[in-house]
Amino acid sequence: MLKQKKYLLFLVSALFAISFVSAMGVTYPQPQNIELSPGQSSFFTFQIQSDDFPLTCVPIIEETQGLELAFTQEYNIEANQKYNIKPQVIIPKDTPVGAYKALFCMECSPSEEVAGSKVIPRFCNLPVTVNVVSERTRPNKFDETESNIVIWITLLTISIVILAIVIFFLVRKRSAYPSYSNQQMQ
């Protein structure tokens, strides 16, 4: 039996030009061997390098060993950028002292619509290593930023409380002394 061939125009990934190269790179996170105590957090940074196309990159956490990694849901990177990403690593309070290593991936795809099938690189095994210690012996490179955030949150909280107290007393004062117009009416 002759093999019946069905001819079908099966176009896959219609492209404008095959010679376009998707150039992107991801650096390993810095710093490594972050020293933290249980309950503390710090930041680390890594870089995504784009070429001629804008990218949308999404973090994928592979392994945490109990550490918590805080990323933005996705990162939009313009073309020809060296884009620094600064996630946070958080040590849960009950984490035992020891060395930890979390791994994550960054999956990046062209932000713009393409007329064919996308080829998507996924950069994996990006490590974040943390030494959990009972007492810190040194600062980490990005601790200060975290401290600033804590300070700002604290100041904001205090400001809100003060504002609430002021409003409370103003309302209370207004209730205790009826307005002049009300007195006139009476």
Partner: protein, 611 residues
């Protein structure tokens, strides 16, 4: 003439005759007497001799003072002479250094003859006033060994100088009487005080302006008049007090003075933080009488504070001081991120402290040497040993202020002075040459810091691919239920610095843009016939793989298959990534065998590779 006029004339004549006649009668009638008026000696009027010893009009020393003295070497003398007889007086002023100078013939300081004093001049009760000013009036013809009204160090004791001069005033009345009246006076002087308080005692200027304090108590007050003008002598030498290697100066100004150096003080030998040259300064002064003070001796140090290391910041981006330090966050050192497929940029700031705050006044540089010597290696990193890149770092005035001096380096990405992307990641040694000052550089300089070259994953690859044998690629189009060899080449190149192991996966191709879930007329379920669906290959022939990589069946996401050079996609060894001996690149083709039952259309899949 009338009768009345004749009578008057007659009366006058008669009266004259009578007066003459009566006078004759009286004289001729008295007793005869005689007295003799002798010639009296001339003299110096008592208490009139004085010497000027102060600026005010009343500042004269005379016999009423305990001592007749003066500090004025141009002193003025005064006295009065008189003679009871109306004689013409010759007056001579004799001043000598020994007693009774006029009698010993030793008027060796002044031997001055005043102009003659006429009788009418000295006739008043206080006689004739005479004045003599030394160094204004002539000294006359001196006798013996001539001397002056002056002092020498032999006349001094304990800082006080005094010399007695002997005066004879000789008055001759030219009638046989000559009187000699002796006086004495002391010429007094205080030696200048020892200079003090040399300023500065240390300096950063090889030819500094020097000041010091000098005092002479002969300040112009009475007995100390006129005020002395001091002449200063300053010497600065290399080896001992009194040597004159750098300064040998005389300055006749009335105050502590600057002095001109004959040669700059040389900079010393650098130590840890300073280079010090100790010099020996000697200063003294002389006064109007050329009396010399004692020497003031002090050391003067030329100090060059050597630049000391503060920090070094290194980054591939703009320096953020808190983050790019190579010294603060150890063991994490300053890091440089490679630039994919290119030379990395390098920015560096070297901060040093220069206490002298003059780093902007002279051009200095430093050198940064980056080595690819691992931090744990025993190999050294110097500009001549294992150096990978050596950069000259220039002083940056805009980034510096006062004693904070910054030296900067900026190399843009793509500059061949940057670091190639393919250099292996690691923590490496660096060497920082010390910043020199005028005297040189510190012998203790921090240079043992590390830098890190970060790992970069950078597979250059296409972002879209053609599958199968399109006619445009020379094929015969896509046929169902048979292999359609991939003809479109997509090459992957490792443009990072770590080995790349590749895993591949794909979503089910669909023609309507929907997410496939099982085989339909518009969806090709890759998992339904895994070994007979979508393949990746490094050549465009589906059937055979002789010397090339074997084809691999790409599985449906989330499963993955491994395809790539054995051992991974190699790291390049040049910017061009064209080494024939390395697997730096990977050619890929995609063969497809779409099943029957698929509707005509353009099918899309999403191929993901994981590194």
């Amino acid at each position: 003439m009338d009768k009345r006029g004749k009578f008057k004339i007659l009366l006058i004549l008669v009266s004259f005759i009578l007066v003459v006649s009566f006078s004759y009668i009286v004289i001729s009638q008295g007793a005869t007497g005689q007295f003799i008026i002798g010639n009296e000696p001339p003299y110096v009027v008592n208490n009139t001799f004085a010497i000027k010893d102060g600026a005010n009009s009343g500042d004269w020393d005379n016999v009423f003072d305990p001592v007749i003295d003066t500090h004025d070497k141009d002193t003025k003398f005064r006295f009065n002479v008189k003679d009871s007889n109306p004689d013409v007086l010759n007056v001579r002023l004799c001043i000598g250094t020994a007693i009774n100078p006029s009698t010993t013939g030793d008027c060796n300081v002044v031997n001055y003859n005043f102009p003659i004093v006429a009788p009418g001049i000295h006739s008043p009760s206080l006689g004739a006033p005479l004045t003599y000013t030394y160094n204004t009036n002539p000294t006359g013809t001196l006798e013996g060994i001539a001397e002056t009204i002056s002092l020498s160090s032999l006349d001094c004791s304990g800082g006080f100088c005094s010399k007695t001069f002997y005066i004879d005033v000789i008055v001759d009345d030219n009638s046989g009487e000559i009187t000699t009246t002796p006086f004495t006076f002391n010429l007094i002087n205080n030696a200048p005080s020892v200079p003090s308080s040399l300023n500065p005692s240390s300096t950063h200027d090889p030819t500094p302006d020097l000041t010091w304090t000098a005092v002479d108590i002969d300040d112009g007050s009475k007995d100390k008049w006129p005020a002395d003008t001091l002449t200063y002598y300053a010497q600065i030498g290399a080896s001992s007090f009194g040597s004159t290697d750098y300064l040998n100066s005389v300055s006749a100004v009335p105050a502590a003075s600057g002095a001109s150096f004959i040669s700059p003080i040389p900079w010393g030998t650098p130590g840890v933080s300073q280079a010090v040259t100790s010099t020996f300064a000697r200063i003294w002064s002389t006064d109007n009488f050329n009396i010399t003070s004692s020497n003031y001796e002090a050391t003067l140090n030329l100090i060059d504070n050597l630049p000391t290391f503060v920090d070094i910041h290194l980054s591939d981006e703009d320096i953020i001081a808190g983050e790019a330090s190579c010294t603060v966050f150890l063991p994490n050192s300053c890091a440089i991120n490679p630039t994919q497929g290119n030379y990395s940029s390098i920015n560096m700031i070297l901060s040093v402290k220069d206490v002298d705050a003059d780093c902007s006044s002279f051009a200095t540089t430093s050198q940064l040497t980056l080595c690819l010597v691992n931090s744990t290696s025993l190999d050294t990193c110097t500009p001549t040993s294992n150096n990978f890149r050596t950069y000259n770092i220039g002083f940056n005035a805009a980034e510096s202020s006062a004693d904070n001096c910054n030296y900067t380096l900026s190399i843009l990405s793509g500059d061949s002075q940057g670091i190639e992307f393919f250099r292996l990641p690691g923590v490496y040694k660096m060497y920082l040459s010390p910043v020199a000052s005028q005297a040189g550089a510190s012998i203790s300089w921090s240079s043992g810091y590390l830098w890190e070259y970060v790992s970069l994953i950078a597979p250059f690859y296409t972002d879209t691919v053609y599958l199968g044998d399109r006619q445009v690629d020379g094929g015969d189009g896509i046929q169902l239920n048979q292999w359609n060899p991939g003809l479109s080449l997509a090459t992957m190149t490792n443009k990072g610095n770590i080995l790349i192991n590749l895993e591949w996966e794909a979503t089910d191709p669909s023609s309507d843009g929907s997410t496939c879930d099982g085989k339909t007329a518009t969806c090709w379920d890759l998992s339904s016939d895994l070994s007979n669906a979508l393949q990746i290959d490094d050549d465009n022939i589906q059937e055979t793989d002789s010397s090339n990589l074997f084809t691999a069946n790409i599985v449906e996401t989330p499963s993955r298959i491994t395809f790539g050079p054995f051992g991974g996609l190699s790291i390049c060894d040049s910017i061009n990534c064209n080494s024939p001996s390395l697997n730096e690149t990977l050619n890929t083709y995609f063969h497809i065998n779409p099943p029957t039952g698929l509707s005509p259309g353009t099918y899309n899949t999403q191929i993901t590779f994981t590194v």
